[in-house]
Symmetry: C2
Subunit: 474 residues, 2 copies
C-alpha cells in the first residue's frame, strides 16, 4: 500500500528529472516561488537544513582565521563601474532602487549582486600597514541577480550566500589562502557533511569570474548526470586592489598594492543536496546535516507505545542524536511513513505494541537497507553506528555514479556524446579554446581543469598536462 | 599614563553623550556609515557580538516551538496596500525597485520594510485546518526603512532583525503566545544575557504598531536617562487575517478567521547595549554575551611569559571561558590595556615575569573593581566566579540608575520636568490622551503602560489603574 501511495505522489526522477525536482520541492515542503518573479520562499524544513549547513561552513571559515561582518544591501552605481570586467559581468542582472523615502533618488542605488566593490572600498580604508595583513573577512547575506529563467535554489533572483573577501601582501599568500578555503572549507564540507563527492579544479578563461585572474571550483554530478557548481574561490590578483586603491606600507616602508581573493557558496547547495541524493521516494538527507536524524514513529495510540516512543526520543537526544517523535496516531501509519521517506529522514524507528512485547522496536533505513529488529536497550548504539555507516554509503554511492558516468574522450564529438549522460575527461591540449567554443554551442561546457591526479592546478602545472572535465550543467 | 591616553581618546559621556556614542563606535571599531545615506557597516567586533545575541534569542524562540523560514526581500506594492493602517504606516519609508534585469519593471517592487504582508499571503495558503494551528514562524533578515535622520544601530535605512509571525485559533491563544515571547524570549534575554533591566508594558493607542490591536514593549533606560525600545510584540487581532484571508476549518467544521501576532528585535539592541553600559573608558560588554570574556595580556616578550600566557588561554578555553591572547609585545602595555578597556572586555589577565616568579598573575575587572593577584592554579575558578558576579553587578548598577532617575509625577508639567533626566511614572487616568499629546509636543512620549505591579496589563486590568511610563526616547 505504501508503494502505491508513493507512486501517486512523485514523478519518477528517471522519467522526468526536472519535474521530479519540482515535485519534491513542493511535496516535501521545501520551497516555493515568491510573488515577485524569480524570488523564493524557503520553508521551515529546508531552512532548518540551511541553518545546519551554514553552521558547518561558518565553523570551517572561522577556523581559517576569518571574521564575519555585515555590509549594506545598497551600493552606489558608481562603485560597480570602477572595475571594468566586473560591471560588464553584472550589469544585465542588476536591480536598481530609484525611489526611496517618498521621492526619486538623485543617484539610483544598486541592490548588491555581490559585495566585492564595497569590500574593496572598506579595505582601502581599513588597511594601512603590513601589520593589517592578511585581512580575512566573510559575510552571510542575501544578494540579488535578476534571473530570466529562475529555478528554485539553483537560479533565483534573490539567494542567500556567504561571500569571503581577503587581502594579502603577496600573490603566494593570496593563492595559498584561496586554496585552503577551497579544500578545507568547501571540499571538506561538501564531502564530509553533505556526502557529495566533488571534482576540484580551476575554471577555463571563458568560465572565470568577472575580474578574477583564477577561479577555483567544486563541481558535483547530479542524479541526472548534469554538473552543478557547488562553490567557487577566486584570486582577484591586483585588479580590485588597483581599482579601489587597497595598498599597504611594507616592513621596509614601501607602498605596495594588495592581492585580494573572494569566495562564495550559497543556497544553491540545497538544490545540489536534493539532486545528488534524491530518489523515487523523495529526498535523502545525509545524516551529518539532517535536522532530524531519526523519527520515532508510534504505530498505535496505546499508552505503553506512546510512553516508550517518547522516552526513546529523549534517550536518543541525550545520546546526541537529533530525534523527533511522530505520535500522530490518528493518521494512517503508511501515510506517515511515506511522508518521512519523502522528507528524507535517514532513520525511522517504528514502535508498536507487538514489538514492545518482545522488548524490541524496528529500525528502517531511508536508503533501502533491510528492516532491522533491535532490542530497546541497544537502540542508541545501533542508531549512532547506522548514521555513521549511512554517511559512508551515501558518498560511496555518489562516487560510483560519478565514476560510471564519466568517460575518457579523445575528441569534441566523443565529449559531446559523453555529456548526454554524464561527464567527459579530455586532455585540455586536445580540446583547447576552439574545442571549448564548439562544446558551448551545444550547451556543454568545461566544468573545470584538473591535473592528472585530480588536484587543483598551480603555477607549476603546465597547461599541456591538464585534463578538462566536460558536461552539461545547471 | 593610561589615564591620560583614555582622556585623549574619548569624549566623556557626561559631557556629550551623543558624541561619546559616535566616538565609541569608531574607536572601538564597531560600526561606520555605508556609502549610501543611512546604511551601516557592522565591523567584525560588533558583528561577533551580534552573532552571540542572535544565537541566544534564536534558542529562546525555538524553545517556544517556532521554526525559522526565509521569505523574499521583494514584495509587490499591492500587498502593502491590503491592510489600510499598515500601508499608511510604512509608505513614507519605502525603497522601491523600478528597474531590474536591464529594463523597467511593469510593476515596481518594494524592498521589505517588514514581511508582515508576505507572511499573511503565505499563511493563507499554508493554513487549512485547525490542525495546522498554531502556526509559529520566525525569520532573520535585513529590512529597509528609509531614514531621514539615521544613527548607527538605532535608526538606519537598513537593519538586521528577527520578525516572528504566528497564527492562532483564538484571541486568547494569540495573546498568551505573544506574552510568552515577550517575557520568555525578550525580557529574559535582555535581562539575563545583556544585563539590561527592562520595563514591560503595552503601548498607548498612539504608539501602537500600524495595524495592531495591542503592542507590548520592553523599554530600557540608557546612560543619559533616555528610553530605548528594545523589542516589541504585537497582537494583530484579525486585521491581517481578514486582509489576507487567513482562515481555518474548526474541529466542528466551521470556517473561521485566524488571530495573528508579530514580534521583532533588531541590531538596535546593539545600540542599547552600548548606551546602557558604556562609561568614560568605552563600552562594557556583559560577560554572558561577550565574544571575548577575558584577554590574557603578555606584559613582556620573554619566553616564559609568552608560554605561560598562551597556556593560560588554552586552559581557560577548556574550562569554557572565551579567552583571547594579546601577545603584541612590540606595542606599549598601557596602550593595549586601554584598547581592551575601550572594547569592553570584562576581564584582563596581566601576565608578566615579576608575578610569574611568585606563581601569580593579575586580574583586572573592566568595571573598575580593584586589581587582584591570583595564584596561577586558581585562575580558572576565580575567572568563572568573577564573570558571574560581574553580570549581577552590571544589571544591579543599571537597576539603581533606573530607580534613581525615575520620578513619581502627578501632572504633565512634573512629567516633563522628570523627562529631562530620566523617566516619570504617572497614573494613566491623570495623563490621558490629551496629556499624552501635550508631552509629544515637547518630544516626550509615553513609553508604556504598566499595572501598578509593573506587569503587562491584560484584559482584566482596567485602564484607570494603569501607570504610564514617560520619557524622552531614541
Amino acid at each position: 500500500m505504501t508503494t502505491n501511495n508513493r507512486a501517486s505522489v512523485l514523478t519518477s526522477p528517471k522519467a522526468d528529472f526536472p519535474r521530479w525536482y519540482q515535485d519534491v520541492l513542493e511535496k516535501a515542503e521545501l520551497a516555493e516561488n515568491g510573488p515577485v518573479r524569480g524570488t523564493m520562499v524557503i520553508r521551515p524544513y529546508a531552512y532548518g537544513l540551511w541553518e545546519r549547513m551554514q553552521a558547518e561552513v561558518d565553523r570551517r571559515i572561522k577556523t581559517t582565521g576569518a571574521e564575519n561582518v555585515y555590509l549594506p544591501l545598497f551600493i552606489p552605481q558608481s562603485y560597480l563601474e570602477r572595475e571594468a570586467e566586473h560591471v560588464e559581468g553584472f550589469s544585465p542582472e542588476l536591480a536598481v532602487v530609484t525611489h526611496a523615502g517618498g521621492k526619486d533618488l538623485a543617484e539610483p542605488v544598486v541592490v548588491r549582486p555581490t559585495s566585492e566593490t564595497l569590500f574593496g572600498e572598506l579595505m582601502s580604508k581599513w588597511i594601512q600597514s603590513h601589520r593589517d595583513l592578511p585581512m580575512l573577512l566573510n559575510q552571510w547575506a542575501n544578494v540579488v541577480r535578476w534571473e530570466m529563467r529562475p529555478r528554485l535554489f539553483l537560479r533565483t533572483s534573490e539567494f542567500l550566500w556567504q561571500e569571503g573577501h581577503t587581502a594579502h601582501a603577496s600573490r603566494e599568500d593570496a593563492n595559498a589562502y584561496a586554496l585552503r578555503i577551497h579544500l578545507e572549507v568547501y571540499r571538506d564540507f561538501l564531502q564530509d557533511v553533505l556526502a557529495i563527492p566533488v571534482l576540484v579544479g580551476v575554471k577555463s578563461r571563458r568560465e572565470r569570474f568577472a575580474g578574477a585572474i583564477n577561479t577555483m571550483t567544486c563541481e558535483a554530478m547530479m542524479g541526472d548526470g548534469k554538473a552543478l557548481q557547488m562553490a567557487t574561490s577566486h584570486e582577484l590578483g591586483q585588479n580590485f586592489a588597483k581599482a579601489f586603491d587597497i595598498s599597504f606600507t611594507s616592513a621596509s616602508g614601501q607602498l605596495e598594492t594588495c592581492w585580494t581573493t573572494s569566495w562564495g557558496s550559497s543556497t544553491r547547495m540545497l538544490g545540489g543536496l536534493i539532486m545528488a541524493h534524491g530518489d523515487e521516494q523523495g529526498i535523502r538527507i545525509p545524516p551529518r546535516v539532517a535536522p532530524v536524524q531519526i523519527v520515532v514513529l508510534a504505530v498505535k495510540d496505546d499508552e505503553r507505545t506512546l510512553t516508550t516512543a517518547a522516552s526513546l526520543v529523549s534517550e536518543l537526544t541525550t545520546a546526541g542524536v537529533r530525534a523527533r517523535l511522530d505520535d500522530r496516531t490518528t493518521q494512517g501509519f503508511g501515510r506517515r511513513a511515506t511522508e518521512w521517506e519523502l522528507k528524507g529522514v535517514p532513520l525511522r524507528l517504528e514502535v508498536g505494541p507487538r514489538d514492545l512485547e518482545q522488548g524490541e522496536a524496528t529500525i528502517v533505513r531511508r536508503d533501502g537497507g533491510a528492516k532491522q529488529t533491535v532490542k530497546l536497550a541497544e537502540i542508541n548504539t545501533t542508531v549512532l553506528a547506522l548514521l555513521e555507516s549511512m554517511h559512508t554509503e551515501m558518498i560511496e554511492t555518489a562516487r560510483q555514479r560519478l565514476a560510471e558516468r564519466t568517460v575518457e574522450a579523445a575528441s569534441v564529438a566523443e565529449a559531446l556524446e559523453a555529456a548526454k549522460t554524464g561527464f567527459a575527461r579530455i586532455p585540455w591540449q586536445r580540446l583547447g579554446e576552439e574545442g571549448e567554443e564548439a562544446l558551448n554551442r551545444e550547451a556543454v561546457s568545461v566544468r573545470c581543469l584538473q591535473t592528472r591526479e585530480g588536484t587543483v592546478p598551480g603555477d607549476e602545472d603546465h597547461d599541456s598536462e591538464l585534463i578538462a572535465i566536460v558536461g552539461r550543467s545547471y
